[in-house]
């Protein structure tokens, strides 16, 4: 009982070691020839080629707009409440516009809507909580910024045009 000894005694061929080295070298040589003659590789040339990700991929946030470029958001604070990372900050105000093109009056609107992308964990809870389908996560995964300030998305950035889910 107790521990099981799984170590084995090496045969003379295995102890000689050069045979194993030679076998390994043959494997790398085969790979070398595959790469050199047949240009076979498993990587992609990133900026030119891109991987196709799932339709469910959750990337950079955006807020959907209607035909008048008015955001669908009514500043209901549901997303801010549900957000586990507490990265959404909304300040609401009253909307003074008339009825929209579709006769829907949005009485409340966000004065500012900031998402701190550095805190966001991309769980998608905000998207699920939103009653107006306003906040959404696009499929864009290239979110590099040059300063920390630019990583805090304001309303202008969020209202950018995103076709489909990007």
């Amino acid at each position: 009982m107790g521990t099981i000894n799984v170590s084995k005694r090496y045969t003379a061929k295995e102890k000689f070691y050069l045979v194993a080295i030679f076998q390994g070298m043959m494997i790398t040589l085969r790979r070398f020839i595959q790469g050199f003659l047949f240009q076979k590789n498993w990587t992609i040339q990133y900026p030119e080629e891109r991987r196709e990700y799932s339709q469910k991929f959750r990337g950079e946030h955006f807020i959907s707009v209607d035909k008048n470029k008015t955001e669908n958001c009514t500043a209901c604070y549901l997303c801010e409440t549900v957000c586990p990372a507490e990265c959404i900050h909304i300040i609401a105000e009253e909307r003074e516009d008339d009825k929209g093109q579709y006769g829907v009056l949005k009485e409340k609107k966000p004065l500012s809507f900031d998402i701190d992308a550095l805190r966001c964990c991309f769980c998608g809870f905000c998207e699920e909580a939103c009653p107006k389908d306003a906040i959404k996560l696009s499929r864009n995964y290239e979110m590099t910024v040059s300063t920390r300030e630019k990583a805090i998305y304001d309303l202008d950035h969020l209202k950018r045009e995103v076709v489909g889910r990007g």
Binding site: I21, R31, F32, Q34
Partner: protein, 363 residues
């Protein structure tokens, strides 16, 4: 040696030729190292700069030139700057005794195609190859960094252990040749066994050749013996504190050491500049086609002799790169086990065996 214009100029020409070839092939080796690694691992490798990424080493050099020349505050400045210089000088100096052809004839004067024709050439080469351990120790110690010191410690103990097996393997084949002069050794290997197989050292003394080959990997700090650098545990080892052009010099020195070790291996065990099988017919075909005289024929042959040495060296460097991407690094105790418990007794036994064989054959 007389100091007339011709001898001085031919000497200078040979020195420039050897240095130019050594330094000129480094970018290609670096490119091949990266590209070959990529091919072996199913990647593409550097392919942006120039055709097939061939200008990538040039871009690296430009980057190295324009980086800040920084040195650590508490480093010993003299030794810190001496180390990369020494690293570059030692293998280049060792290259001087490698014969890269038998002789050429220009203006009725015979040019010995070897920079320094020293009778004890192999000893000279061994001395300078042994000098390669000093830059490691100096760089590790002078840069005042514990990782560098660890790298230097490992590198020095590794090179010292493997140099013994290397020297014993060398001794076993030197007894066969009966000479320290590389030219004579290469000419000895020009004979044929049973009229077919070239009498290369590797066929006369295969175990010695194998031990020597393994030891060259350790001497040049290539994988699987690159414990002096050991990226995984020592960051970069002995050249950790070196940046910009100082690092580039270390980098070049490593490749020149590779070239030197491969050329040495080719000269001692693989027939040196002797024409590769089949090349002699090519030389004769070209000679008869252009109706060359004896002198022209000899010069043509010398050119092909350089080519065959070049091909051999290229093959050994390819094997070094090939091994690098095949084998993982040894653990330090495994390294010492291999050096002292396997290679050293094997080399010693082989030496005794070879001396017996040589004694009975020459009696």
């Amino acid at each position: 040696m007389s100091l007339d214009i011709f001898s001085v100029s031919q000497m200078l020409a040979k020195i420039i030729f050897v240095i130019a070839v050594c330094l000129g092939v480094i970018p290609f080796i670096v490119w091949f190292e990266r590209r070959g690694a990529a091919w072996m691992q199913g990647r593409v490798g550097p392919n942006r700069v120039g055709p097939f990424g061939l200008l990538q080493p040039l871009a690296d050099v430009i980057k190295f030139f324009f980086k800040e020349d920084w040195s650590p505050r508490n480093a010993n400045k003299f030794y810190y700057f001496l180390a990369p210089t020494l690293a570059l000088i030692a293998p280049l100096a060792a290259m001087t005794i490698i014969p890269f052809g038998s002789f050429a004839v220009i203006n009725d004067q015979v040019i010995n195609l070897q920079i320094a024709n020293i009778d004890s050439g192999v000893l000279f080469l061994l001395a300078f190859a042994g000098l390669e351990v000093y830059p490691l120790i100096l760089a590790g110690w002078a840069s005042n960094n514990k990782y560098s010191v660890f790298g230097a410690l490992r590198g020095s103990s590794q090179i010292v252990s493997y140099e013994i097996s290397m020297a014993l393997a060398l001794l076993s084949i030197l007894m066969v040749y009966g000479s320290f002069d590389p030219h004579k050794m290469v000419e000895f290997q020009n004979q044929k066994i049973f009229g077919i197989i070239p009498m290369w050292g590797v066929f006369l003394n295969p175990i010695g050749a194998l031990i020597f080959w393994i030891a060259t990997f350790a001497e040049t700090n290539r994988l699987p013996f690159d414990l002096a650098e050991g990226e995984a545990e020592l960051v970069a080892g002995y050249h950790l504190e070196y940046g910009a052009m100082k690092f580039a010099v270390f980098f070049m020195a490593e490749y020149i050491a590779m070239i030197m070790a491969s050329a040495f291996l080719a000269t001692i065990f693989f027939g040196g500049y002797n024409l590769l099988p089949g090349m002699y017919f090519v030389v004769q075909k070209i000679g008869t086609h252009f109706a060359l005289a004896d002198i022209g024929m000899q010069n043509l042959k010398a050119g092909f002799q350089f080519l065959s040495l070049f091909i051999k060296v290229a093959f050994f460097i390819f094997v070094m790169i090939w091994i690098r991407w095949t084998l993982p690094r040894f653990r330090f105790d495994q390294l010492m086990d291999l050096g002292w418990k396997i290679l050293f007794p094997l080399a010693l036994t082989n030496l005794i065996f070879m001396s017996g064989v040589v004694y009975f054959l020459n009696r």
